[in-house]
Amino acid sequence: MLEYYNTKQMEKSAILEQNDATENGFIKTLTDFFEGVSLLTKFTIRFFRQAFKPPFEFKEIIKQSYIIGYQSFPLVAITGFIMGLVITIQSRPTLVQFGAESWLPGMVAVSMIREIAPVITALIFAGKVGSGIGAELASMKVTEQIDAMEVSGINPFKYLVVTRILAATITLPMLSIIADAISLYGSYIGVNLKNDVSLRLFFLQAFQSLSFSDLFPSLFKTFFFGFSVGLIGCYKGYNCKKGTEGVGIAANSSVVFGSLAIFIIDMIAVQITSLLNC
């Protein structure tokens, strides 16, 4: 009997201990989270401090923008085209049911330009550019290249981080505009699979349903998308843990958190635009 009681007691304390452990784990996750947020905030403040302090690295910003844009252009163009085409084909049956087939260009244009093209472009950008920045800076950190810059009296934060964040902020909106245009062309092809619409008529119909309040906010938010992808990639890379596995982690979490940031910003942006519109 006593034995039974003892084992029961032991089980009980084991469960209590486990509870303690999960509680500690939870607290640790929570403190880690807030620590991460505070470090990221500090990083952002440092960016703004350095970005407005001369000397400016214009040449490097342009070089980075070129590399970033050049790298992701083919991917953005192909996905833009396919998205335009696919959404057109998918929407047609519904519109035909309502006898509203002629609305097809306008509807696709609104949904592409308002939401799909910017967000898809930004996600691709996070996957391609965010991970690239994260991995590049992380491997520079691990192989002491960032330290080497620092000891030669050059500010690596300014040279590496500020330029990349600015380049990402400038480049993504341009890519997004390109994606808009190409997706409309994809949509034109999609419409012409079943109907016969001239390019001119198609764009006329498409632009009739678009207004300034469609174009501007969608362009505006891509600056924030680009900024956050650049910022998170740089933050993860620059603060990478020593060792080669740190590089993989930095690249991976740049994409994960970059994509998450895009959706969060998108959600905030849509609230703001809908408030302003009514």
Binding site: D147, A148, V151, S152, G153
Partner: protein, 242 residues
């Protein structure tokens, strides 16, 4: 007149519970090669990283070229760093740049020099390490010894007053290691620069040292010339020289 280029007093540095440097003292005189010997993990790299301001010491004074580096702001520190060369254990060449661009990099922002002068400096620095031919190569195309030498050329380009070498000969074959050691000696003569040389390589120490110290448990255990230390009767010290 002050003859010491570096003066470290009561330096303490720990990472969490890991006490790496405890009350470390060190002096480097003008145009002197000081060799620092110590077991792996004894904090040699940490020592010179504190000296150049890559790591913040917990406590103590670090006087580098007459300035207390713990009291400088970022701009002043960067200015001071231009007078100090640092050769990393891994050479730390910029992977995305050619050898030429690697060497030009430390000269960025020096407004007073024109393109031709930069070219001349690059060629001169490469010639000093015997690698003029590699000027347009990428770091990935170089062997370990060549990387070390390019790293050295990059630290020489600013004509530093003191050079910090972190294990310049580790990972090289004995012949190349010897070449690098002699190179260090040549550089001392040519540039009249002081140096701290961290090494495990007794041969390198023999060739380059004017004076040596051995660190153990975060502080200087013994100090002297190569001859004095290599003839020391203490077994632990003696084991370094076998």
């Amino acid at each position: 007149m002050e003859t010491s280029i570096v003066k470290i007093e009561h330096l303490n540095k720990s990472f969490g519970n890991n006490i790496v440097l405890a009350d470390m003292n060190l002096v480097v005189n003008k145009s002197e090669n000081l060799v620092v010997l110590g077991k792996s993990g004894s904090g040699k790299s940490v020592l010179i990283k504190c000296l150049i301001g890559l790591l913040k010491p917990d406590d103590g004074n670090i006087i580098l070229l007459g300035k207390d580096i713990t009291k400088l702001n970022d701009d002043e520190l960067n200015l001071l760093r231009k007078k100090v060369g640092f050769l990393f254990q891994s050479a730390a060449l910029y992977d995305s740049m050619t050898v030429r661009e690697n060497l030009e990099f430390p000269l960025r922002g020096e407004k007073a020099i024109c393109k031709e002068e930069i070219d001349a400096l690059v060629i001169e620095a490469l010639r000093n390490v015997g690698l003029e031919n590699a000027i347009n190569k990428m770091p990935s195309e170089l062997s370990g010894g060549m990387r070390k030498r390019v790293g050295l050329a990059r630290t020489l380009i600013l004509k530093p007053e003191i050079i910090l070498y972190d294990e310049p000969t580790t990972g090289l074959d004995p012949i190349t290691a010897k070449e690098i050691s002699h190179l260090i000696l040549d550089i001392q003569k040519k540039y009249n620069a002081a140096a701290i040389i961290i090494t495990h390589d007794v041969e390198c120490a023999r060739i380059t040292a004017n004076r040596m110290i051995i660190i153990k448990e975060g502080k200087t255990l013994i100090e002297g010339t190569f001859k004095e230390l290599s003839e020391d009767t203490d077994e632990w010290i003696h084991s370094f020289f076998q």
